[in-house]
């Protein structure tokens, strides 16, 4: 009887694993199947055509996403890395550091839709209109906690002996932190930035009321701008067959980018973040 239970549980665990892997496989297969058939050169070079005309692409959404992510990185990367440096190098064991760590976790848990309305009331309302800028702010803020915490973790992995070596040479602390500690941990820190980047690349909710979307090319920070995930959302809930196909193609492009980023991260971390640091 006991062995029977044992076998049953093993079976159930395997079943659970299969049930988890199945949707992933299903999603991927379906994405590739649907997306690949709608992907062509036009997708990357054309802007959307009006309903009823076939063809068209999402060039403006891809460009818009790149711009929003670039802007977000400008905000999120420095603040995130700075916060991480504070946690690992200056605040170790202090109450302030614990509070910062907790707040970063809180910020990480804020639902993206709430980030969206917060960015709306912080930027869009004072500006008086939707804009690429407000979308970038929302994405940037969302990148901070991930970058901050991975930076801290990676810096803590740098052996203390390396810090001491630099200090004992009479190197000023700021220089020792930047040129020695941060540089030693840089592969890990870059990994954290890419993880944050991949996470917000697919965010839609914070953009609905900020970047808003745009059917045309735009590179103006003060104008609404298209974004890949936003466009996928709009097309997916539309009633038009053509748009559905574009949504699948967009989703395929987005997921390929994200999988590439995650795999790269995985590769870097498995190679040992701090190769050579004993």
């Amino acid at each position: 009887m006991r062995t029977l239970t044992d076998h049953a549980v093993t079976g159930l665990a395997v079943l659970a694993t299969v049930l988890v892997v199945a949707p992933l496989v299903a999603i991927f297969v379906y994405l590739v199947y649907k997306g690949a058939s709608s992907l062509n050169l036009d997708f990357f070079t054309q802007i959307p055509k009006p309903v009823g005309e076939s063809g068209g692409g999402m060039a403006n959404a891809i460009g818009g996403s790149a711009m929003l992510l670039g802007l977000g990185s400008l905000i999120g990367v420095p603040i995130g890395i700075g916060g991480g440096i504070f946690l690992a190098e200056f605040g170790r064991g202090t109450k302030l550091a614990n509070a910062v760590r907790f707040t970063a976790d809180v910020l990480n848990g804020v639902p993206s839709i709430v980030m969206g309305i917060a960015a709306y009331s912080l930027v869009v309302v004072p500006q008086g209109h939707f804009s690429a800028f407000s979308g970038g702010v929302a994405l940037g803020i969302m990148m901070i906690p991930t970058i901050c915490r991975t930076t801290e973790e990676m810096l803590l992995m740098v052996p203390n002996a390396v810090r001491e070596a630099a200090l004992a040479l009479g190197v000023p602390n700021w220089r020792s932190v930047l040129a020695i500690t941060v540089k030693t941990a840089s592969p890990g820190i870059i990994t954290g930035c890419m993880l944050a980047f991949a996470r917000v690349a697919g965010e839609t909710a914070p953009l609905i009321f900020t970047a808003f979307g745009n059917a045309f090319w735009s590179s103006n920070l003060n104008q609404p701008i298209a974004a890949l995930p936003l466009q996928i959302y709009v097309y997916a809930i539309s009633p038009y067959e053509d748009w559905h196909r574009l949504a699948w193609a967009g989703a395929l492009v987005l997921i390929v980018l994200i999988v590439l980023a995650v795999s790269l991260v995985r590769y870097v971390t498995s190679r040992g973040v701090l190769k050579g640091a004993s």
Partner: protein
């Protein structure tokens, strides 16, 4: 050129732990001075007080005076200024893992803003020669990372790094304890060569090592300095019973 060190009434704490008590000591210039004693006796803390590395630990505290040459290091200068004059070699080799051999040696100068490339080349070569590593690494100075060397080579690289800033004092905290016998004897030979140009303070738990390299030896026990005298006297005719017990292996 080295300068002498004069320590008066030095006390140090880690938290509530009084690790150094009332140390008074004169270390002569351009000689090697060994500090021996059982582990935990405060000898490492002592050398870390001489370049103010002790205070990098937030719970650490120091009182007393340390003079290097005519400079009172706790009164007249900031830690970075002291550490540029006092080189340190640690127990475990700690080259900068992301840097090439060349950059490791040049780090102390480069990171302090020295940028004359031609002179840097010369200094790196000279420092590596002085640390007896040049012949082994001259072909891949910029190709290999410091971390790719063997343990003994890494430690000599760390010595070269410390020498490159032309220090007046060289502190060595058990520099050979993590190394094999061959590397250890190379380090000892090196200390022997260097001591004419630098004031060297070497912490060691290995009494033979102290006897081999140092003119003077101090014996530390439980945070106090029990005896300080010429190495010869310490090892042949110590005046304190505790020193004798330690030398003859009765404890520690």
């Amino acid at each position: 050129m080295g300068v002498g060190i004069e320590v008066t009434n030095l006390n140090a704490w880690y938290g509530t732990n009084h690790t150094l008590q009332e140390i008074n000591l004169k270390i002569p210039a351009n000689h090697a001075t060994a500090l021996i004693g059982p582990s935990g006796c405060g000898k490492s803390t002592f050398v870390r007080c001489i370049n103010r590395m002790h205070e990098t630990n937030p719970i650490a505290r120091v009182t007393g005076t340390v003079r290097i040459g005519d400079l009172d290091i706790y009164e007249d200068a900031k830690p970075v200024e002291i550490r540029r004059r006092v080189g340190m070699v640690f127990q475990r080799p700690n080259p900068f893992p992301t840097m090439s051999i060349y950059d490791n040696v040049a780090a102390g100068l480069k990171l302090n803003g020295y940028s004359n490339r031609h002179e840097l080349d010369e200094i790196v070569e000279k420092s590596l020669k002085n640390s007896a590593l040049w012949d082994e690494v001259k072909d891949d100075l910029r190709k290999k990372s410091g971390a790719s060397l063997s343990g003994g080579q890494q430690q000599r690289l760390c010595i070269a790094r410390a020498l490159a800033v032309d220090p007046e004092v060289l502190l060595m905290d058990e520099p050979a304890s993590a190394l094999d016998p061959v590397s250890t004897s190379k380090i000892e030979d090196l200390i022997f060569q260097l001591k004419s140009q630098y004031t060297i303070v070497i912490v060691t738990h290995n009494m033979q090592q102290a006897a081999r390299v140092a003119e003077n030896t101090g014996f530390f026990l439980n945070g106090r300095m029990v005896e300080f005298d010429s190495t010869h006297k310490i090892f042949t005719n110590p005046s304190d019973k505790r020193t004798e017990d330690y030398i003859t292996g009765r404890f520690g």
